[in-house]
Structures are given as structure tokens and as C-alpha cells.
């Protein structure tokens, strides 16, 4: 029912947009009608270039996420597990680093990593790394110590405790941290693609703007929105697939 309503509201939005364009309420030179934009979408789909751009952006996004998570998880587990006090001390630093506006860091990344793929993946890596790191630490430190006590009382080894208590006990928190940073990372990526990209979703927006191809500009805007939603939904799905034991409130029993 709720999802039906959401779809209805989106449909109404497109309908209003289309009608406004047709009735001449908006200047179609700057805001072309919805159907004009959709025509452009189909033409870009036919020649395959839309998919090339989507793939380029999503590929960068996932490379960045995978690298960030691959570093953040082991580092977070080590910090929280072996040196919880050090993790405590480092927490303000992590928070500050994650607060640094990634858009302002784009020039620095380009300076350090060049104009190519590396700097774009690097930006995503940066944006995802810190939240992933401190959600891992938070995930580990918030595990009910009674559970670890119970496992230890049964003579569980360190490895058993890690794989059977710490890892499943923190995975939900880690997912939540990564999920929010990925949505943000996608936004930042689009900004990074304005500079020196040969493909990518924002490349569409940027080049269309320069060529005054206004309908195509809107294709870029719409596609970014849709792909962003799909990516965050996919991560949500994955979380639900893995974290099957949580009740709605995320309460641990």
C-alpha cells in the first residue's frame, strides 16, 4: 500500500511536469517536457551509450566501496578488539576526517592520483572508509558483553568468538554505516566526474550542458537519481538478506 502510494506520487509528479510543459506554463527551452526527455533516454539506450555511462559510474562506485570496506573492516576489528582504548582516542580524528568536505578534496585527489580513474575511485574510497571504520568499531564495542561471556564460559576459542559472536554481532551496524556513506559517495562521485572524465553519469550532464543539449542534460539528472536509488536499495536488500535475525527496530535480543 505504502509503495503503491509512493509510485502514485511519482507518477503525478511526471504528469504535472508533462502538462506544465504542454500548457506552456514552463519554458521548454530550459525545462523540456517529460516525454522529450524520455525520447532522449530511449535514443541513448538504443545506441548503448547510456549503459556505458552507468557502468562507468557504478564501476567506480563499487571499486571504491570494496577497497574502503576491505581496509576498514580488518582495521576496525583490530582496533576495537585489541586496543579499544586506542580506538577511543582515534575516534575524534576519524570523525574529523570524515567531516572534511569531499568536494573540496577533489583537487587534492587529482593532484595526487592524476586525472584518471584512480582519483575518482580514491574519492569514493575516502568517503566510505571513515564511516565504515567507525561503524565497525561501534559495532564491535556495542556487542553485549554477556554474549561474549557466555561464549567464553563454554570454552570458545578466540577464533570461534570472532566468527560466531563478534562478526555476526557487528554486521548490522557496519551495513548501516556503509549504506549511508555509499549514498553520499555516489553524490560525490558525480561531482568528481565533472573533471577529466571520459564517461560517467555526470559526464553526460557536463557535456550536454556545454553542447546546450538540454534534454540530454535532464537524462543525466534523471539517470543519476534512479541509479542512486537502485544502488542504495541493493545494499538494503543485501543487508536484509544477511541480517535475517533482526526485528524491525534492529533490537538485539
Amino acid at each position: 500500500m505504502k509503495s503503491f502510494l509512493s509510485i502514485l506520487i511519482i507518477a503525478v509528479f511526471f504528469l504535472v511536469w508533462e502538462s506544465a510543459a504542454r500548457l506552456g506554463l514552463i519554458d521548454t527551452q530550459f525545462i523540456p517536457s517529460f516525454t522529450t526527455v524520455m525520447k532522449e533516454v530511449f535514443s541513448l539506450m538504443r545506441n548503448g551509450s547510456l549503459f556505458v555511462h552507468i557502468l562507468a559510474s557504478v564501476g567506480r562506485l563499487f571499486s571504491g566501496i570494496v577497497l574502503a570496506v576491505a581496509l576498514a573492516l580488518p582495521l576496525g576489528f583490530m582496533l576495537a578488539g585489541w586496543t579499544p582504548r586506542l580506538a577511543d582516542f582515534l575516534n575524534p580524528l576519524f570523525t574529523n576526517l570524515s567531516m572534511a568536505n569531499p568536494f573540496t578534496l577533489v583537487p587534492i585527489f587529482i593532484l595526487l592520483l592524476g586525472m584518471g580513474e584512480a582519483s575518482k575511485i580514491g574519492i569514493i574510497f575516502w568517503v566510505v572508509l571513515w564511516p565504515a571504520l567507525f561503524s565497525t568499531i561501534a559495532g564491535v564495542t556495542q556487542i553485549d558483553p554477556e554474549m561474549i561471556k557466555a561464549a567464553r564460559a563454554m570454552g570458545a576459542s578466540g577464533t570461534k568468538i570472532f566468527f560466531s559472536v563478534i562478526l555476526p554481532g557487528s554486521v548490522n551496524r557496519i551495513f548501516t554505516g556503509v549504506k549511508s556513506s555509499v549514498t553520499f559517495g555516489f553524490t560525490v562521485l558525480v561531482g568528481a566526474e565533472m573533471i577529466g572524465a571520459k564517461a560517467g553519469l555526470d559526464f553526460i550532464v557536463f557535456t550536454s550542458n556545454q553542447n546546450y543539449n538540454i534534454p540530454r542534460l535532464y537524462v543525466g539528472i534523471l539517470t543519476i537519481a534512479v541509479v542512486g536509488v537502485i544502488v542504495s536499495r541493493l545494499i538494503e536488500r543485501l543487508q536484509k538478506l544477511i541480517v535475517v535475525w533482526e526485528d524491525g527496530a534492529g533490537q538485539a535480543a
Binding site: 554474549m147 557466555a150 561464549a151 564460559a153 570458545a156 560466531s164 555476526p168 535480543a253
Partner: protein, 284 residues
């Protein structure tokens, strides 16, 4: 003088039976900040705690909160090491946690990502028991605690009483010699508590485990114990051991409790109350 009296009682009770657990002069000291002054004072959670428990005996430890009864269980489980003294189970000195003791905690401490069955099988996995056998064993104990049909539920789908049944099944599944229970029924409502007490007695008789049960509830102590160990606070020592020689079931729904049952409750209450009074006067 007190410990010699304890030993006397023990010998009289034991006869020729070998003791399952021997606790010898256990002491555990904490240094705590007291009041306004920054000077730390010594807090004896346990002091020269000596107790022998027979095989298959049900011992309940009662005392005011902070009297060291949870510390005692922590040391028995092997999670903590006492400052001094020793524990032996079947003549073997306890050096750390092991599967010869099962631990049931007040807040269940179930693993929320594991189903009832997988929770019960946790200790069996540590014991490296093959999957097929695990399945059979967990089935037996889930059935024993009356949770057949709930094998594949997750803890958040269960009530407090059911969770504690799972915790009991988990502690029994790997067949420990001794069951340690730390206020296991404190978090459930009165009705559920009575039911769980009945079930525990039934399970105890069926499995003939040795049980050390900690509570601050006097009624619960009298309802369950072969012997009630009444503790004092700071220093945490044994004030008196009260043998309860009443047949089970001691509480029946219709008839309530017998006169001798009430007498035991009153006696233990008196011992604890006296304790509180003396504490108050010492604080003045």
C-alpha cells in the same frame, strides 16, 4: 569457627559420598572509591569462602546484592580468577572456562543471529560434535525444556521465559557436570518464574546435575534448594547454611505452601535481615 561449623555440617550431610565441587578459602578483593574521599577502600567480595557440594546436589546461594554471589559464580565458571583459594571439580583444579560447567545468566545472553536450535548447538560446535549428532542432541534438549516446534525461531521472536528455557537447554546440551545459574529467573514475571522453577526441578531430577544457583529471592531459594547458603556482604562469607529437607514439589498451586516451608523462608529472611541491620549500625 564458622568454617569449622560448615565443615561439620558438610560431613554429616555427605556421609561417604564424594564431593563434586570443593571450594577452598576463595577470596576476591576489589578496591573501590568510597564516598567523598579519593582514598580507595578494600571491598571483600569473597573472603575465605569454603564450601563443598555433593554430586547431584542443588545448592542455592542467597545474600544481599553485592555480597559476592555473582563473583562466586564467575570464579566457578573460570571466567575470573580468585585472588586466592582454589576450586576443584571431581578432584580436578579449575583453571579456566571449560565445558564441564554450564552457565545460565540472568539476561539469557542468547545469540540473536542464531535460531533456537543453533543457540543450543553452540557448545556442541566447540566440542566438535558432528552436525548430525548435534541435531539429535539439540532436539533432545529443546524438547526437554518444552520448546519443540520453536527450533527455527530467532530469540527476538520468543518471550523472556522461553529465552531462558533456550539458555538452559544451551547450557545442558554439551552435558556439563555442573550447572551454574546466576539469577536466571529474575527477569521474568512471577507466574513464569514459578513455572520455570518447576521445570528446573524436573530437569534436575532427570539429568541429576549438580546445580549452584544464585538468587536474592528467598522464596525461590526455599522452593529449589537442597541447601541454602546465606551470605553476608563485605566480607562475602557464609553466614549460615540451611538444609531444606522438604519433598518436591514444595509449592502447589491450590494448597500454597506448607508451614515448614514458611518457617524456612522466615528463618532465612531473619538471617538476611539481621545482616542488613548490623550493616546499618556499622555504617552509623
Amino acid at each position: 569457627m564458622l568454617s569449622s561449623a560448615v565443615r561439620e555440617i558438610d560431613e554429616r550431610e555427605n556421609g561417604a559420598m564424594p564431593n563434586k565441587i570443593e571450594m577452598n578459602n576463595l577470596s576476591q578483593v576489589y578496591y573501590v572509591k568510597s564516598g567523598e574521599s579519593s582514598k580507595k577502600s578494600v571491598f571483600y567480595a569473597l573472603k575465605d569462602f569454603t564450601l563443598s557440594v555433593r554430586d547431584g546436589e542443588f545448592v542455592v546461594v542467597v545474600g544481599p546484592s553485592g555480597c559476592g554471589k555473582s563473583t562466586l559464580l564467575g570464579i566457578l565458571s573460570g571466567l575470573f580468577k580468585a585472588n586466592s583459594g582454589s576450586i576443584a571439580i571431581d578432584g580436578e583444579t579449575v583453571t579456566g572456562p571449560a565445558l564441564d560447567r554450564g552457565f545460565v545468566m540472568q539476561n539469557y545472553a542468547l545469540f540473536p543471529w542464531r535460531t533456537v536450535r543453533k543457540n543450543v548447538e553452540f557448545g556442541l560446535e566447540i566440542k566438535k560434535i558432528p552436525k548430525r549428532e548435534r541435531l539429535a542432541i539439540s532436539g533432545t534438549y529443546i524438547d526437554m525444556v518444552g520448546l519443540s516446534g520453536f527450533e527455527n525461531r530467532y530469540p527476538h521472536e520468543l518471550s523472556g521465559g522461553m529465552k531462558q528455557r533456550v539458555a538452559i537447554a544451551r547450557a545442558l546440551a554439551y552435558d556439563p557436570k555442573v550447572l551454574l545459574m546466576d539469577e536466571p529467573f529474575a527477569a521474568v514475571d512471577a507466574q513464569t518464574r514459578e513455572k520455570l522453577q518447576d521445570e528446573l526441578i524436573r530437569i534436575w531430577k532427570k539429568t541429576s546435575k549438580t546445580i549452584i544457583f544464585v538468587t536474592h529471592n528467598i522464596d525461590e531459594a526455599v522452593a529449589l534448594a537442597d541447601r541454602v547458603v546465606v551470605m553476608t556482604e563485605n566480607p562475602g562469607t557464609i553466614k549460615e547454611i540451611v538444609p531444606i529437607d522438604l519433598p518436591h514439589p514444595r509449592v502447589s498451586v491450590g494448597a500454597g505452601v506448607s508451614e515448614s516451608y514458611s518457617a524456612f523462608v522466615k528463618k532465612i529472611w531473619g538471617l538476611l535481615h539481621n545482616e542488613e541491620e548490623s550493616l546499618e549500625s556499622s555504617r552509623l
